[in-house]
């Protein structure tokens, strides 16, 4: 399933490693995730669901959906899309619920870390924030669950749209490459500490914390208490699922997941793909599939017209790919994995028209039906959240320097409302600069000037036809933030916030049984031990 020749990409495959899958030897290239390596070997069925034992595969490819959980080196519920395959690794399919490993619990560290600014999420927003803050001299810790930084940006092989001047015409991967260079330079100077393969599992306000903010970070067997003066949440977005029977069959993937396989690891997601959604993402990813030599059966779009830029849609048409507007997927077909889909026409009220069903043969159904901001940590830290349709979900109220209603907690990128990479970069820069105020020495004025100029660029970016919608949403958020601040003071509104989970699992499937197991181990270990519990009944 590997793509050997690609018109744009060189996958730079280096050393091979061998690992085993259900007892059979397999090979991966170093730096490849387990999920990708299995896919390259044609293995799409990764587990069976807990309740109904339905086959489950890969979906988001970026650690958000838990659909790829397997048993790795005896440890159950490992998200194989964000863990690299390594030499000698033992990977097993997980049938239903996991079992505890019988091995000894390996080395586990419990460490207390301190930093100036903790940035959660290493996508374009988070990286930009880290770079700007470090440029001002602030100490930064950048946390990302993936082993490879870059978020959704590292998958974008096409030239950028939506931006009038900035980055327009440059491929996403190239922008990412430049950002990595800068980031590494600050890392070398000791200003940026990069924690990759690490998940921020919770925001805490413990009495004993050493700084204003405290994050729990889980990395492998280790757990870190990260104490920070400021926090920037740039956790991106979750890909939306669509409701139809069999939507959990292996072979139904999110567009980001498809891009990850194809553009990051050079692995064919399948041989014939049905694309769902004719917005920019759906149409561009379809074109990328064609570039990689993969057949696109059709693009289905429920709306009566194509949402993507005309130029992109025209390219697809030139390849003879039909774009079926006013259609949707009625169901996915197949046993064990996708072998086709039933499409159906929609009437003016978006109702399925009986008798208009058609069958399409395909081994992959790619969903490009939008994203929802990943806001768990923001809900949990108590930031005031509100639903904005323009932002595609609940987002925190924030001011024009990206600060939420919690002083010192900032947001940037898709987590503050779904937009695009170039705006995520700008927002990240603003958040990084604003957070650095007061932490970096004596350059307050310079920071303000730089923020002002980035704000201008951001406003320009949002002038285009596609930026307009987002700009409206941002306007509303700003207004609400202002009125919130106006009436502030005793606003601790509801004493029982609806969301107090530190990081709730995301429910993607109808039979949502595969849980995302966060790697907060209950380590039975010196540093973890707490003073003996002397509770004598007390309140109960």
């Amino acid at each position: 399933m590997r793509i050997e020749k690609h018109p744009i990409l060189d996958f730079g495959r280096k050393k091979k490693v061998s690992f085993s899958y259900d007892g059979n030897p397999l090979e991966a290239f170093e730096g490849e995730t387990i999920g990708s390596a299995l896919h390259a070997a044609g293995i799409k069925e990764l587990s069976h669901s807990l309740r109904f034992k339905r086959p489950r595969g890969f979906f988001c490819g970026i650690g958000k959906c838990s659909s790829c959980a397997m048993r790795v080196n005896g440890v159950p519920n490992v998200r194989t899309c964000i863990v690299n395959a390594t030499e000698g690794m033992v990977v097993e399919r997980q049938d239903g619920m996991g079992e505890l490993p019988d091995a000894e619990f390996g080395d586990a560290r419990y460490e207390i870390l301190e930093t100036g600014i903790a940035v959660v999420g290493g996508g374009p927003a988070g990286i930009s924030a880290a770079i700007e803050a470090a440029r001002q001299g602030a100490k930064v810790a950048l946390i990302d669950e993936n082993t490879m930084l870059g978020g959704q940006l590292i998958k974008q092989t096409h030239r950028f749209f939506g931006s009038k001047e900035h980055s327009a015409g440059i491929r996403g991967i190239k922008i990412a490459g430049e950002m990595f260079g800068e980031l590494r330079a600050f890392e070398a100077k000791g200003l940026v500490q990069i924690l990759s393969g690490a998940t921020a599992t919770g925001y805490y306000k413990d009495k004993r914390r050493r700084k204003e903010h405290l994050l729990g970070i889980s990395k492998g067997n280790d757990f870190y208490e990260l104490n920070a003066d400021r926090v920037i949440i740039a956790t991106g977005a979750n890909e939306n699922m669509l409701q139809f029977p069999n939507n959990d069959l292996p072979g139904v993937y999110g567009a980001g997941g498809v891009q990850t396989l194809m553009n990051v690891y050079g692995i064919r997601p399948g041989n014939r793909v049905l694309m769902v959604g004719a917005g920019n993402v759906g149409v561009i990813v379809s074109y990328q599939l064609l570039q990689a030599g993969i057949d696109v059966a059709a693009v289905v779009e429920a709306a009566p017209r194509i949402g993507a830029y005309h130029v992109h849609a025209a390219k697809l048409r030139r390849f003879g790919v039909p774009i079926l507007t006013g259609h949707t997927v009625k169901k996915a077909n197949g046993k064990g994995h996708v072998t086709g889909a039933t499409l159906v026409k929609l009437d003016d009220n978006w109702k399925q028209v009986e008798g208009t069903e058609t069958e399409v043969g395909c081994d992959t159904i790619c969903l490009a039906v939008g994203l929802t901001p990943s806001c768990e940590l923001l809900f949990q830290c108590g930031a005031k959240m509100k639903y904005y349709s323009e932002a595609c979900g609940y987002v925190p109220l924030h001011d024009d320097e990206m600060m939420t209603t919690i002083p010192g907690v900032y947001v940037a990128g898709d987590a503050s409302g779904i937009e695009e990479a170039s705006t995520a970069i700008m927002e990240g820069r603003i958040a990084g600069l604003a957070a650095a105020k007061g932490l970096a020495e004596g350059r307050g004025g310079a920071i303000d000037n730089r923020i002002a100029s980035i704000k201008e660029q951001l406003a320009m970016l949002r002038e285009g036809p596609f930026g307009f919608h987002a700009a409206c949403g941002k306007g509303k958020i700003l207004n609400d933030m202002q009125s919130e601040r106006g009436c502030a003071s005793n606003d601790s509104c509801d004493p029982v916030p609806e969301f107090t989970h530190s990081r709730p699992q995301t429910y993607l499937f109808a039979d949502s049984t595969q849980s995302k197991a966060l790697r907060t181990r209950t380590a039975h270990e010196q540093k973890f031990a707490y003073p003996a519990d002397r509770n004598t009944g007390g309140r109960a």
């Binding site: 807990l50 309740r51 440890v75 159950p76 519920n77 239903g96 619920m97 996991g98 079992e99 505890l100 490993p101 619990f105 599992t201 919770g202 805490y204 306000k205 413990d206 009495k207 004993r208 405290l214 729990g216 208490e225 949990q380 830290c381 108590g382 601790s492 004493p495 029982v496 916030p497 609806e498 107090t500 989970h501 530190s502 990081r503 709730p504 699992q505 049984t513 849980s515 995302k516 197991a517 966060l518 790697r519 907060t520 181990r521 209950t522 380590a523 039975h524 270990e525 973890f528 031990a529 707490y530 519990d533 002397r534 509770n535 004598t536 009944g537 007390g538 309140r539 109960a540």
Partner: protein, 385 residues
């Protein structure tokens, strides 16, 4: 939805007790019942609880009430036409001292006299019940074991009650906050909400940790304080053990739910009454270190999420139940601390009896009036979390 102008009974709070009472009343033919819930059903303590059901109590009254409740839980799925997820995997209570052993023996004798199948265990017998426990690590000196204890799904239980009540004519208004209560001349007359007012003959205060606030609206003072209680759930694993394991000494309780996750909590000796809902790392550490002492294999277990709920705590950790002595028509149904789920069947049945028949036969509510806080208190010793 427009609120009705009046109702015979207005229940404030859509937790297991509010929903259970609406069902009990409607089931006996009083269907002019309204539930007002400021948010959504189960959003209070009910949706955040451990949902353990235990009959092993230290006082006779509580043991009776719990035994009665378990009998009712056993028939509830069928009665309500909706599976409440009852699983009777038993409760194993761990003791840590000679004093515990003496108290446990006394408890077991009393519980047996009431017909409860319960036994006193030596440490060597613990692994026969739950093989993965480390008796030495726990510092166990004894235990008691009742195989008919267990747990039920708090969401399904509440929804089952609510649906059955609605089928029988009760009405539920979500996103409706009670803002005031009119009680001129010592009798309730009207409930005010952010969506209009309702005249009522009976007003039931089942507002969980907000009950003191609701009582104050009617000019009544009750000593209920909110205690934040943290709890966590782990990843799902194949079944490892069935019972709920608890220790009053360590303040810990945990069980494995039907869907595989281990759910449990631990009390904080420094806990103060307050409205703090933010989960803490302190809890996570405390829970992790104690739990891995109880079950060393759990060092491999991953935490999925943690959250906070509130206990509505009275000075003796017992509920306040029944018609208020100062305001007639105002029914108290609150102060449940950490055990308001398990006794909800008898509590709601008793309250419905009082409203319909003028007296409760299921339960002696006199001892649970707010008046008891004036004199000496008799504390329930077997409380956890």
């Amino acid at each position: 939805m427009q609120l009705p102008e009046k109702a015979e009974v207005v229940i404030i709070g859509g937790g297991v007790n509010g929903a259970g009472l609406a069902y009990s009343l409607a089931n006996r033919g009083l269907s002019d019942v309204v539930i007002l819930e400021k948010n959504y059903l189960t959003c209070g303590a009910t949706g955040r609880c451990g949902a353990g059901i235990r009959q092993q109590w230290s006082t006779e009254a509580n043991t009776r009430m719990a035994i009665e409740s378990v009998k009712m839980f056993e028939g509830l799925s069928e009665e309500l036409g909706h599976d409440i997820g009852l699983r009777q995997g038993g409760y194993l209570i761990i003791g840590h001292s000679d004093a515990d052993a003496a108290q446990f023996k006394k408890n077991v004798a009393m519980q047996k006299s009431l017909g409860l199948g319960v036994s006193y265990l030596d440490p060597s017998e613990i692994n026969g019940i739950v093989p993965i426990l480390d008796a030495e690590g726990m510092g166990a000196t004894c235990a008691t074991w009742c195989p008919t204890d267990g747990h039920a799904d708090p969401f399904h239980t509440t929804f089952a009650y609510a649906k059955a009540a609605e089928r029988l004519g009760a009405r539920i208004y979500r996103r409706t906050t009670v803002t005031g209560i009119d009680a001129p001349d010592g009798a309730v007359s009207k409930v005010r909400t952010d969506r209009g007012d309702i005249k009522a003959r009976w007003v039931v205060n089942a507002a969980g940790c907000n009950s003191a606030e609701i009582a104050a609206m009617a000019g009544i003072d009750i000593p209920i304080k909110p205690y934040p209680k943290e709890i966590f759930a782990t990843e799902r694993l194949k079944p490892l053990f069935k019972p709920m394991v608890i220790s009053f000494h360590d303040g810990i309780y945990f069980s494995q739910q039907e869907h595989g996750q281990v759910v449990g909590g631990i009390s904080d000796p420094e806990a103060k009454p307050q409205w703090r809902a933010m989960p803490s790392l302190r809890f996570l550490k405390r829970m992790a270190s104690t739990l891995t002492r109880y079950v060393p294999d759990f060092r491999h277990l991953k935490v999925l999420r943690q959250w906070t709920g509130f206990y509505d705590v009275t000075p003796d950790a017992q509920p306040i139940l029944g018609e208020d002595e100062d305001v007639s028509g105002f029914m108290q149904c609150n102060g449940f601390s950490g055990h308001g789920f398990m006794i909800s069947p008898s509590v709601t049945k008793a309250l419905s009896e009082y409203i319909l028949d003028g007296r409760a036969s299921t339960l002696d509510m006199k001892a649970l009036s707010k008046k008891r806080f004036v004199g000496e208190l008799d504390r329930e010793a077997s409380v956890v979390g």
